[in-house]
Symmetry: C2
Subunit: 263 residues, 2 copies
Amino acid sequence: MAVDDVLTSSVDPGSDRPVYKQIADHLRTAIARGRLHEGDQLPSEARLMNHYSVARMTIRNAMRLLQDEGLVTAEHGKGVYVRSRPPVRRLASDRFAQRHRKEGKAAFISEAEHAGATPRVDMIEVSESRPPGEIADRMGINDDASVVVRSRRYLLDGKPVEIAVSYVPADLARGTPISDPNPGPGGIYARLEEQGHTLERFTEDVIARMPTPQETRLLNLSPGVPVFRLIRTASDTENRPVEVCDTVMAADVYQLSYELPAR
Amino acid sequence: MAVDDVLTSSVDPGSDRPVYKQIADHLRTAIARGRLHEGDQLPSEARLMNHYSVARMTIRNAMRLLQDEGLVTAEHGKGVYVRSRPPVRRLASDRFAQRHRKEGKAAFISEAEHAGATPRVDMIEVSESRPPGEIADRMGINDDASVVVRSRRYLLDGKPVEIAVSYVPADLARGTPISDPNPGPGGIYARLEEQGHTLERFTEDVIARMPTPQETRLLNLSPGVPVFRLIRTASDTENRPVEVCDTVMAADVYQLSYELPAR
DNA sequence: GAGTGGTCTAGACCACCAC
DNA sequence: TGGTGGTCTAGACCACTCT
């Protein structure tokens, strides 16, 4: 068994470095050196306890460290496995450009199909309410103004990858398909442009952090996977913010790609 | 004591939800509701054990959960505290634009001083070697070509925030200040332009992940803080990549901000 | 049923911090 | 010196997966 190749070193209980960290070091090195490949099963806790002659909690502390680093995932009743990186979705900075809307599809759908994946959107909810302060700031409106709130979840081949909440000033959305669960071909950007709000530019603010428990559930995230939070503001040619989209994405599935001016 | 306001609820040992998660829920809610503020100390493990009538490991599991979410940090010998968010550095997409180099300062320095912080750069190392495959790909060169490698660490007010490694094709850097630890006013971009390589555009690829142990050490990261990895490619007016910069940043200190075209 | 990881107990000793 | 979190032991019972 390949697994046994890993059980070669031993630990120094007298060392300054805690035993569980030494054990984590061994396993991390085994992964880095390729003695354990993506998808390989690590030795079970029982084997590791036996090999290193330590208590179970010491092994579990070592495993937790590797999980927190995003190197392995534990599967209850099965074992601990070297995490295999899912295919990465590369988001180009021109992905919302008008020319990509021509086919009459929203950005996510057309991109996914282009990449050979099966896209799905679920948990669509539309309502009207007050915007959070952070959003109101970006819209340049008061936070007691009314906005149409569109939230939904995106999936690729059945795996949830992204949850998004869009805010559109109510006076722009009311009585248009933007207030419907299905906004029609090309998505809400197409609808906004039909109403004369030609889009001029987008601003994206990106942060990374660990997910909340709710996000962990909705995105089915493994431990050790952070999320991107991306707040995109769409402005029209009159420089009016016409939409703010607040997105949380599983960071192990995305690479964001931007072009910057040099002058 | 404010701390005791938190110790109000009790747990249901018969519930499906594990006890340690219930305890974490209580504490998380206390933080979210503002009953515990930034910098406040949580009740000690001993207090919590006593209050919930559980073993110490159960409390520690709850605490670990909150740490992994980035909500609290433990300080050995002192206590566990609600994490206070450090001031965020906002990186605008025009931060490498030529006009910002006029003062003769590198982007990091001039930006930091603008924000009223004290910048420092240490661990500067310059060498010549072969580029990693990922870098060679972006440079459009073979990975047995020679590049000048400049690595350094950036600090703000003494706190490390960013480690960066730049790669410049050796034929552009050799015999110029780009090969010196101190490349002179305006940094290496100014030197490249002086040599006739006027910069035309930058491409930034951004991912987020948990830090390696080495990155945790170099950036002095708390548990539950991910990193941005940002690979920036600078191309000149002849569309030749003249530098690739591989940066790892503490994600709790940064907000990246980009402008996207709408057509 | 056998093997896996998940939760929990009830202790122990240690290192660090503030007083 | 007393209180804090960090490490570690040696058990127990449980839930899940596979055969």
